[in-house]
Symmetry: C2
Subunit: 466 residues, 2 copies
């Protein structure tokens, strides 16, 4: 079984590390983590995965079997000795987990010995990219579902053990509970579930299956009504059992629709339940749901109370990945840049701070300004490439977003529960105006540079121009 050790990396990190080890073992580097494109054609993303990353960094080392394995890969003995003692001893500056974030600004910066900073790159990208993707998807689904209950049930379609982290990210992004027992246990997330078709099939007789289930698991009991025929069999049987439960002082929590036309079936179901004086029985729906299907169900007035979402959530469809990168921005105090034929892919040099602009009501105005970390207050931000565009910042409150969360390899942040992170995320999202949250052509949140940072970047571009 997988144990995340320092060998959870790409081989080239170690190849490069050996060269650093032989030529400049004491170099200090700053790397920026950021992404370039908001997933799902949306207007924002939810930064997720920080706590896991810091926890792993604090304890990261190569196991004995990692070292034995690397001995077979042409590494020098002195470098292998170094790896045996390897610990991450750097500093990390980061946005808070759960915050609303935007492209092309550092979300996290690592400041460390270049060997250490390089070895942890893969791990950081792997955990942050995926969880940020899923939390962002979850946030969109939450947006479409308003106050309805959202249940993550995707483990069976998740990317193997990636599903464990998907559940965590889904909760931070706004889901209420999960079917994933292990993740619920480890991350302290509410756990819930209904029943499967196999349960009813094993009885053959649907009514009997419902009766046994309701008798033995009366709390939060949800009956799955589409094994044979939703309206002609499942629902009449569920109504019978609901009345039997009432006679015992219990209450059926809900019925679950898992196939067919959910809008039509939900309306028919609500009517049949109400006709049977079961107004309190909730309707749970599942089957390839995402934010667009839920939107459509809402538009049609489908009286659904609980949505179970699986595949689309835990795989972050249709994008399935976030394009987060980790770029060197400073080496031994000197600013560094990566050019590209694509102007949008040119990196930003130097250690930086990001300020979020808040309006007079404390709401996000819609602009993050990236400055050199050495700058104090800034009063103007420039468009990264369009010389004609800039924004006066003097009328805003400036919230610094990057905080030191790890120093000398030790966490500085108080350990938060998953629920606390989710709560923080919700509070931040509340500050984002609605035009950034809509699905169709959301408003574009501005990310700009301080005049000093822009000047430094442009100088480096010129120095490397051909």
């Amino acid at each position: 079984m997988l144990n995340i050790t320092a060998a959870y990396t790409d081989l080239y990190q170690l190849t490069m590390a050996q060269v650093y080890f032989k030529t400049k073992p004491d170099g200090t580097a700053i790397f920026d983590y950021y992404f370039r494109r908001i997933p799902f054609k949306g207007g924002y993303a939810i930064f997720t995965g920080l706590k896991n990353v810091l926890e792993i960094l604090e304890n990261l080392e190569f196991s004995d079997s990692d070292i034995a394995y690397l001995e077979t890969h042409n590494f020098e003995p002195s470098f292998l000795e170094y790896l045996k003692k390897f610990r991450f001893q750097g500093s990390v500056y980061s946005s808070m987990e759960g915050d609303v974030v935007f492209p092309n600004r550092p979300i996290l910066q690592v400041e460390a010995n270049i060997i250490e900073a390089q070895i942890v790159e893969t791990l950081l990208l792997n955990l942050l990219n995926f969880q940020t993707l899923v939390a962002t998807k979850a946030s969109r689904i939450r947006h479409s579902a308003f106050n309805n209950i959202l249940l993550d049930m995707g483990l069976r379609r998740a990317h193997a053990t990636g599903g464990y982290y998907a559940t965590r990210a889904a909760f931070i992004g706004g889901f209420d509970s999960t079917s994933n027992v292990k993740a619920a246990e480890d991350f302290d997330i509410p756990c819930s579930g209904t029943m499967a078709h196999s349960f009813i099939q094993s009885y053959g007789d649907e009514l009997e299956a419902f009766r046994d289930f309701a008798r033995i698991r009366p709390i939060n009991c949800v009956l799955l009504v589409d094994t044979y025929n939703t309206l002609k069999s499942g629902l009449p049987n569920a109504i019978t059992v609901a009345h039997e439960m009432e006679s015992r002082g219990d209450r059926l929590f809900g019925v679950r629709l898992d196939s067919g036309d959910l809008a039509y079936l939900a309306k028919k179901t609500r009517q049949l339940l109400n006709d049977a004086n079961l107004e309190y029985v909730k309707i749970v729906a599942s089957n390839q749901l995402d934010e667009y299907v839920i939107n459509s169900l809402k538009e049609q007035g489908a009286p659904i109370d609980v949505y179970g979402v699986g595949t689309e959530l835990v795989t972050g469809k249709p994008d399935a990945s976030l394009d987060g990168v980790y770029k060197l921005s400073e080496y031994n105090g000197d600013p560094r840049i990566k050019l590209s034929e694509n102007i949008l892919k040119i990196s930003l040099p130097s250690k930086k701070q990001v300020f979020r602009m808040l309006d007079e009501n404390g709401m996000f105005y819609g602009a993050d300004a990236i400055a050199l970390a050495s700058e104090g207050a800034i009063n103007k931000m420039m468009h990264p490439f369009d010389r004609t565009k800039n924004l006066d910042l003097t009328r805003f409150q400036h919230e610094p977003l990057l905080k030191k969360v790890m120093e000398s390899g030790k966490r500085l942040l108080p350990i938060q529960s998953t629920a606390e992170i989710a709560e923080y995320s919700k509070s931040r999202l509340t500050l984002l105006p609605p035009e950034y949250k809509r699905f169709q052509n959301p408003h574009i949140y501005k990310v700009g540079l301080s005049p000093n940072l822009k000047e430094e970047r442009d100088k480096l571009i010129d120095a490397h121009k051909f």
Copy 2:
């Protein structure tokens, strides 16, 4: 960190299990694992993940902390006592890992106490769906790349620790090596890598960076040439270093293109390398590659020797999931069925065997016939729903595909290395005619039912009809 225990499941498995425990603790169930739709609009899939599943099943139990957690979820003490002693003691019948498989036929069958069979469902689906998806994607990329070298470098964009299994599946599907050190170590897969832009950026001077790297890591040395300008800087510097290596008796393995128009740059690069008498230096290309991009590069005559593939491979884009399901087909010896308004979703009852038809040359004819396990030879197969279609099977060799791979919770299969599984997969794929492998409208492989199985299924459909 995640430890896969029996709590790696959906809560409803345990809820149902408690009801089984109270009402029919000795029931025996057969469940079928199969998928309904071939991913990527392709003509076949590569079944992967079996070894991991069997290894986990053999050692599966609830940890003490799992039990403590479940105590807070309204489970009865007697059932929790049962869970403490839980072990999977069932049998598993399966296609061999790496085999070419098709939709709507059992790929794996579990025969076990119904509680055990139910609890392991999520785990099986989670590991088999994802690895089969990625191995299938890898197989398609292999098809497009012919005999070129294929390198998996997707860990940073993989779904967190799911990337560990993605690497394994990619290798079984036809990749040559991976950048993922941990997966390479644990699954015994060749590991390789190049260098990152950060390495060159840390030097500032590209030529000096190349020199140090080539001197310290001369074996399989690949220089990344696009940090500043591929043709005007990276390549001339790489050529200088290649000649310096020659003077020391070393040889540059390759240069890597990671941006820009790969077809154009590869041609220019080949020409410049050849003009410098460096015909042996290989061209490695990466940047958002998939089977279609590689196809197109081939069509344009791009002289690329090695393809590095990341995101599209490890996330199984654009599908990002395989729709594999696990359906009850028999309970205590009685056949069971799940109906659906969608005729294609109706399940197949009873314990079954699947026969693959081989032609006179031992090639796959293009038909798998599903029969009752109790049947001996079958001489005809029927289309699942179209009464007008059937196929005479008397002229074929019949290869039984489901083998008993686990009995009483113990593995029966000899333990194979990942390389052996990959080799088997390749040998099986060789037997599949090319018309099933093409990307555009591949030929549809027939999956049919024995007359007896069809009769049994239809009887059950009639019995449950409304």
